[in-house]
């Protein structure tokens, strides 16, 4: 019963935060558009490079044709759009400016407003991205041999990818409690993400040992896996294994976030909030 009340309270908070973010975001339409362009541009560059390579090497690289790459990168754009966060850039500012104090005085965990803030901004940007992807589809003619079950499994995979990526990036952002040089950590993280999540190239193009590394680390499960799943490049067993890996990372990141948050707050409240 109390759990139900708790959930209801949280839902109300999410709804309200949603309205708040929406209201503030529509005031920054220009910067939103610029941000979106950068989000689209990076995969677009890879898409063009890999299509050229595949056309040059007899129509296919590692099982991807030019149209296969188009499908891969357009799907990646969408999945990335749904799962990305900007929290790692924001936390240092919060800690340095003392903005966290206001959040710590509130009787609710600050992650909740960050999650709903993130989701509501996505709701504004996603329709625009869908239009962009639609236009790009007309230009690049993506092709994929997907199956109905894969599309169905894609939805929970996408949700889990969002949650795992959010929790892990939120946890990493807490580094700001210990150091003012979070940019170094961010750089390393984004490079790992670039290679091991399937951003720079589909993971099947990498050597076998790197694919094993990618399977062990969380990055693939935050981005590449839902994309491969949607495009019908995985067997049902691989899909189930993937969902299992995502679930495992979800539990692990929940445990991590809890202990690191507590330790971080202890540090924050020791040195002066």
């Amino acid at each position: 019963m109390s759990l139900l009340l708790e959930l209801r309270g949280l839902l109300k908070l999410y709804a309200q935060q949603f309205k708040t973010t929406f209201a503030s975001m529509v005031q920054y339409r220009a910067s939103l558009l610029i941000w979106m362009i950068s989000q689209v541009l990076e995969p677009l560059v890879y898409l063009i490079v890999w299509s050229t390579v595949s056309n040059g090497s007899g129509g296919s690289v590692g099982g991807y044709t030019a149209r296969g790459f188009a499908a891969y990168y357009l799907a990646l754009m969408l999945v990335n759009q749904v799962t990305y966060t900007w929290i790692m850039w924001e936390y240092e500012y919060r800690v340095r400016q003392g903005l966290l104090s206001a959040a710590l005085l509130k009787p609710v965990h600050p992650i909740h407003s960050d999650i709903s803030d993130n989701l509501s901004s996505k709701l504004i940007t996603l329709p625009i991205l869908l239009v962009i992807v639609g236009i790009l589809s007309l230009i690049f003619h993506p092709a994929a041999a997907t199956a109905w079950w894969a599309v169905l499994a894609f939805l929970p995979a996408l949700a889990l990818a969002f949650l795992v990526r959010f929790l892990i990036e939120w946890t990493l952002a807490l580094a700001a409690f210990w150091t003012t040089r979070v940019n170094a950590i961010n750089q390393v993280y984004f490079i790992l993400m670039l290679f091991l999540a399937g951003q720079i190239a589909p993971l099947t193009l990498f050597p076998r040992w790197l694919q094993i590394v990618a399977d062990i680390l969380p990055f693939r499960w935050m981005l590449g896996f839902p994309v491969e799943l949607l495009l019908g490049r995985l067997t049902p067993v691989q899909a189930l294994e993937g969902l299992g890996a995502q679930a495992a990372w979800l539990i692990l990141s929940l445990v991590l976030i809890r202990s690191i948050w507590r330790a971080g707050v202890r540090v924050y409240s020791a040195v002066g909030a």
């Binding site: 309200q16 708040t20 104090s101 206001a102 005085l105 009787p107 409240s269 040195v271 002066g272």
Partner: protein, 326 residues
């Protein structure tokens, strides 16, 4: 004796800060070996505040006031001693505790910059899980007391400093906290706005029975609101008692303003002449001699009017701090 709303016993907070000399050599050295320095911000504070009391918490910059308020509101862990607010240990930051307190810090904003304050208030309603009817009632009351009406619909960034402060205070009180910590609530505001906020705090305290611990550099705030003051310096308690007792304890002098027919009179034998204008003299006299000097003035000179006063409270506080520092 009811349980105190706020209770401190030997509360301490020591910050460890890296100590480093300037220059390249010192910078390189600090790479390998960091010397740490302990700074005692709060050094064994003990006091109680009863429910419903308004207490002025005074001290010069760096005395440890804000550090104390942050510990009492759960933002800082103390390094020693104990503290209780409404029976809870603040730095455990239990939700039930956080729901019953508020901390307003001068320039910190909890309002969302780009949207009207009314929307931020709604967010607070969701955060504190306030029933719609209660929220409405409190908001109406605060809107009336602080005259927020026309401000609520404007984006916060378009409000003046004073208007924003009023909205900040309202946002901090929507959940009807039982204990209110105010850190410089009137800083940077013009006199009219200061007065309005002051009378609001008094009225809020009267209506809600909330306990208020307030720091301010404006003695007018303290005089208007606080019967009792707590003065700290270097993190230690210097005085705890009635404002009038503070004045009695720390002033060695009184001022005598005397109006004479004779504008040319020389009064320096009676005391230090602070001011003299059209026969109106202001004398500074040691407290113990006030009665004697008054008597002599009245006997010796053609006095039209005579007034004995305590020095202004600012001056008293100033004396307290400089005495301690010296």
């Amino acid at each position: 004796m009811p349980e105190p709303a706020i209770h401190l016993h030997e509360l301490c907070k020591t910050y460890r800060v890296p100590e480093r000399e300037s220059g390249m050599g010192a910078a390189v050295k600090s790479l390998f070996h960091r010397r740490m320095q302990d700074i005692k911000a709060v050094d064994g504070l003990t006091f109680d505040v009863a429910p419903g009391e308004i207490v002025g918490f005074l001290g010069p910059n760096g005395a440890g006031k804000t550090t104390t308020l942050k510990m009492l509101s759960g933002l800082l862990h103390p390094t020693g001693g104990e503290g209780r607010v409404l029976g809870a240990i603040p730095w455990q930051r239990e939700r039930a505790f956080l729901r019953q307190i508020t901390l307003v810090m001068g320039q910190r904003n909890q309002l969302v910059w780009d949207i009207p304050a009314a929307d931020s208030f709604e967010l607070n309603r969701a955060i504190y899980r306030l029933p719609a009817a209660d929220f409405r009632r409190t908001l109406d009351e605060l809107t009336g007391l602080l005259e927020l009406g026309p401000l609520l619909k404007k984006p916060v960034r378009n409000l003046s400093l004073g208007e924003r402060m009023k909205c900040e205070i309202a946002a901090a009180l929507l959940h009807r906290p039982k204990v209110v910590f105010l850190d410089e609530p009137t800083i940077g505001l013009d006199v009219t706005m200061q007065r309005r906020i002051r009378s609001f705090i008094a009225e809020y305290n009267r209506r809600s029975g909330a306990t208020v611990l307030l720091t301010s550099h404006y003695m007018a705030d303290v005089e208007a609101l606080c019967k009792r003051v707590i003065v700290i310096h270097h993190g230690r308690l210097l005085f705890d008692g009635d404002l009038s007792a503070l004045v009695q304890k720390f002033t060695a002098h009184k001022t005598i303003v005397v109006q004479l027919e004779d504008c040319q009179a020389d009064l320096h034998t009676y005391g230090e002449v602070l001011n003299c204008e059209d026969g109106r003299f202001t004398l500074k006299v040691p407290k113990a001699r006030t009665a004697r000097v008054t008597e002599r003035l009245l006997a010796d000179l053609p006095v039209i009017d005579l007034l004995v006063e305590d020095p202004p409270i600012e001056e008293v506080i100033d004396t307290v701090f400089t005495q301690e520092a010296g």
